[in-house]
Symmetry: none
Subunit: 118 residues, 2 copies
DNA sequence: GTAGACCTTAAACATAGGTTTAAGGTCAAG
DNA sequence: CTTGACCTTAAACCTATGTTTAAGGTCTAC
């Protein structure tokens, strides 16, 4: 898919997609003969995920660790497993942080509800 | 209380307190004859509240609008609970998506391990 | 009366996360 | 073969959230 299609589908700007690519938050696009970027449709979900995570106060740096380097050149099986395992740990870390965030918010809500009924 | 005392008590920098004052996130301090700021000890809790809200993913702009009420109850309880509930839903959504991502990665690892042993 | 720890301001700097602009290349339709 | 909607890059610009710096005033203790 061309950058414009992806942008429309994920409801982000094209400049933002290029910016993410520059920063390594998404992997570099393949290029056609004309030099146009050619993205997998997969990227749409990634972009939506990034949006959501940002709204929750996660930085792009934090998000990047979870998102980097998916469609690299085929490496050896062992290497691939190692890479995926690292990525798995990152995702687990993100989930853990998000859960902490959730608990803090829940605690705050509970506190307020008590204040309210008091 | 002088700005340094407040800063120490709330564990923030003095520059940050002055910054918040400039931006109207906290109300302007009274001034002594020497021109020094004189803050109510109350501000300590506000500063801690701001810190917490930021950690929950609220921007200073959001915090400022919510804090414009009185000092003891900086936020209308109902309003705060509503805002927090919205945040909570977003966090839960993020966790769900991250879990899906995790499962995909795990599946990928399993697949590779099978390929390896085959 | 001077040293040191406070306080004041304005303005510059920093970092993250983008957007906008300028100058141009590509491609399908009329 | 030109028009319009796409795409490219590099660099300038913008907002949020502060920190740092420069140049100074105040107050307490020795």
């Amino acid at each position: 898919m061309r950058i414009g299609e992806i942008a429309k589908a994920a409801d982000v700007t094209t400049s933002r997609i290029r910016f993410y690519e520059r920063r390594g938050i998404i992997s570099p696009a393949a290029r056609g003969d004309n030099g146009y970027r050619d993205y997998p449709s997969d990227l749409i979900n990634r972009l939506k995920f990034i949006e959501l995570a940002q709204q929750l106060g996660f930085t792009l740096r934090e998000i990047a660790t979870v998102q980097s380097g998916d469609n690299d050149h085929p490496v050896s099986c062992e290497e691939a497993i190692e890479l995926l395992t690292v990525k798995l740990l990152s995702v687990e870390e993100l989930i853990a942080e998000a859960k902490q965030r959730k608990q803090k918010i829940e605690a705050q809500i509970e506190k307020l509800k008590k204040t309210q009924s008091a």
